[in-house]
């Protein structure tokens, strides 16, 4: 049995300074100084996959699209126990087109379909584009059913019990055929940490490089990028003791007739 997790390296937007949110003439935002990290939803999906692989001989693989710099993230995944890693090589940036991303992933994964792939994992969405569609499009291109907003997967003999968010609750589905899941946040799915020994060993492992076909899409284009500016009108209750602060707070709430 094989499982594949599609992961993306993104900028850590939390450390970008307020004043650096500026759009340049070529409609980009220069945040190259920010750390490169694994997309947070992809971390949750990778952790889910690793938990399912923990207790048997399931082969696990991670796939990413990008330049050589993304191999750092792949080696982190190898250090966590993933069997193999693949980088789909491209110099183009596909942040704004999830369909092209899905085609590139499909080019690689369709060649692996003879290896008894049971589950393909994708994160629910990723920066920069935040489209939230790549997983669903990839499933459709591969002819697989897709379950979105997955929070947990448990193995039951020859099937998997997949839990996902639906309107008004959580639905638990039993699945015994190949499926693609898009994973969202849930409790206690923080990505495990690698040992130093595993990290050093991962540096020596080979990362397979795959060259995809070239795709174009002219159905839409980016016309404008605009920064969502904050309000910047905070009234601070400061230079006073705790009790007075709370008195002011209660006064504000009463004045606004909210309480």
């Amino acid at each position: 049995m094989t499982m594949i997790s599609c992961i993306k390296q993104v900028y850590d937007l939390d450390i970008v300074l307020k004043d650096d949110w500026l759009v340049s003439k070529d409609m980009t935002i220069d945040i190259d100084y920010a750390n490169r990290v694994m997309n947070t939803f992809d971390e949750a999906s990778l952790e889910l996959m690793l938990r399912l692989c923990d207790y048997d001989e399931t082969v696990s693989q991670v796939v990413t699209i990008g330049e050589k710099s993304s191999e750092t993230m792949l080696r982190k995944a190898l250090a966590l126990g993933v069997t193999s890693a693949v980088r789909i090589e491209t110099e183009k940036v596909y942040d704004y087109n999830p369909l092209l991303v899905a085609h590139l992933l499909k080019d690689y994964i369709s060649g692996q379909m003879t290896k008894n792939i049971q589950i393909i994992f994708c994160g629910q969405e990723a920066d920069i584009g935040n489209h939230g569609q790549t997983g669903q499009l990839l499933a459709e291109l591969l002819g697989l059913p897709c379950i979105s907003r997955v929070t947990d997967i448990k193995r039951f003999e020859n099937a998997f019990r997949i839990s996902h968010l639906v309107d008004g609750g959580i639905e638990h589905i039993m699945v015994d055929k190949p499926v693609l899941v898009t994973v969202t946040q849930s409790e206690n799915k923080l990505l495990r940490m690698a040992t130093l020994k595993a990290s050093l060993e991962a540096k020596k492992k080979t990362i397979k490089i795959f060259t995809p076909n070239d795709y174009k899409d002219t159905s839409y284009s980016l016309k404008k990028l605009k920064i969502n500016a904050p309000k910047n009108h905070c009234e601070f209750l400061e230079n006073i003791d705790h009790q007075t602060k709370v008195d002011h707070l209660i006064k504000i709430l009463k004045e606004k007739r909210k309480v």
């Binding site: 937007l13 939390d14 970008v16 307020k18 949110w21 935002i29 947070t40 939803f41 704004y96 999830p98 369909l99 629910q124 920066d127 920069i128 584009g129 935040n130 489209h131 939230g132 569609q133 669903q136 499933a139 459709e140 291109l141 897709c146 979105s148 929070t151 008004g168 609750g169 959580i170 639905e171 638990h172 039993m174 946040q185 849930s186 409790e187 206690n188 002219t218 159905s219 839409y220 284009s221 980016l222 404008k224 605009k226 920064i227 969502n228 904050p230 009108h233 905070c234 601070f236 209750l237 400061e238 705790h242 602060k245 709370v246 707070l249 209660i250 504000i252 606004k256 909210k258 309480v259």
Partner: protein
């Protein structure tokens, strides 16, 4: 330009998502057809040109019924723009787009028509920026769910058409189970306390939950609080969780990352308590207290009974 909005009606009242879509498109109401699979009673007044009803599609696979409805309508009428105003939008839109050769966007902020030009805006860079796309092909999209307060002005009696398409669509397996989670408290509360990582541990979260019960507030958490398992997933507030719009949103120990802020910006008042004066939350809050939240909450709890 033909615009098709797929939504829900219950007892002739539109759902919140459907209301939001119709209000967002009110400038183009004459080009809008609302399509539903729910029963309709005449007369009905809606802010659109026509109501089209697929009342003969039944079964328990809601997603499949929606797909059949949308694909049938697209085949017959070839609308230029399709809006899915339903909670299953993110699951069905990409699939329909591929099959019908439409461009797809999810969770959009706005749609603008300028003659033949169609422009869609949606958040990018984790909500820190907004991208405006010009679309050259037919478009299928959804709007970002908001707690929409706007009431629309209805047009005169809306024309109703009933589709003859019949079908029963059930799920492959009958052993699925649904765990119902009541989220009404959080989504309809007038006072919400949101806990960030600065709250620090489960014990403090439990104290805040106990305090919130005393004062009639609901409790939500940021992504990191949910990741740590201190609150369950249905308490997640933010871009990928719930968007709330209470009268008061009290934020404790959250730095103010943009994906989280996108979940609370519709609040009438945001009060932030954080020990770091440079925390981004203060760029968005109406009132700020730079202090340890524990000492403020203890004092607030002590004085609350006097209100």
């Amino acid at each position: 330009m033909r615009i098709a909005v797929f939504g829900n009606l219950m007892n002739n009242e539109v759902s919140d998502l459907t209301n939001q879509a119709l209000c967002a498109l009110k400038a183009y109401a004459k080009a809008v057809t609302l399509i539903v699979s729910d029963p309709v009673e005449e007369p009905i007044m809606l802010p659109c040109n026509e109501l089209y009803c697929y009342s003969k599609l039944t079964g328990n696979d809601d997603n499949l019924i929606v797909r059949k409805m949308v694909e049938d309508y697209i085949l017959m009428y070839k609308p230029d723009i399709v809006v899915i105003a339903m909670s299953c939008a993110d699951q069905v839109i990409p699939k329909i787009a591929l099959k019908c050769h439409y461009v797809s966007f999810l969770a959009c902020n706005s749609l603008l028509l300028d003659g033949p030009t169609v422009q869609v805006a949606k958040n990018v860079y984790g909500g820190n920026a907004s991208a405006h796309y010009q679309v050259e092909s037919p478009l299928i999209m959804s709007f970002k769910p908001l707690k929409f307060k706007e009431n629309f002005l209805s047009m005169k009696d809306t024309k109703i058409q009933i589709s003859s398409l019949r079908g029963v669509y059930n799920k492959d397996r009958d052993d699925t189970e649904i765990e119902i989670i009541n989220q009404d408290d959080l989504l309809s509360a007038n006072f919400v306390i949101v806990c960030g990582m600065g709250v620090n541990n489960q014990e403090e979260i439990n104290k805040i939950i106990a305090f919130s019960r005393k004062i009639g507030a609901a409790v939500g958490g940021t992504k990191k609080v949910i990741d740590h398992g201190w609150l369950p997933i249905h308490h997640l507030i933010g871009q990928t969780g719930h968007t709330i719009s209470p009268k008061i949103c009290l934020v404790l120990g959250a730095s103010g990352a943009t994906p989280f802020m996108n979940g609370i910006l519709d609040s009438e008042i945001i009060v932030a308590i954080n020990s770091d004066k440079n925390a981004r939350i203060f760029d968005y809050a109406d009132y700020g207290i730079v202090d340890d939240f524990k000492t403020v909450i203890i004092e607030l709890e002590r004085k609350w009974s006097g209100l």
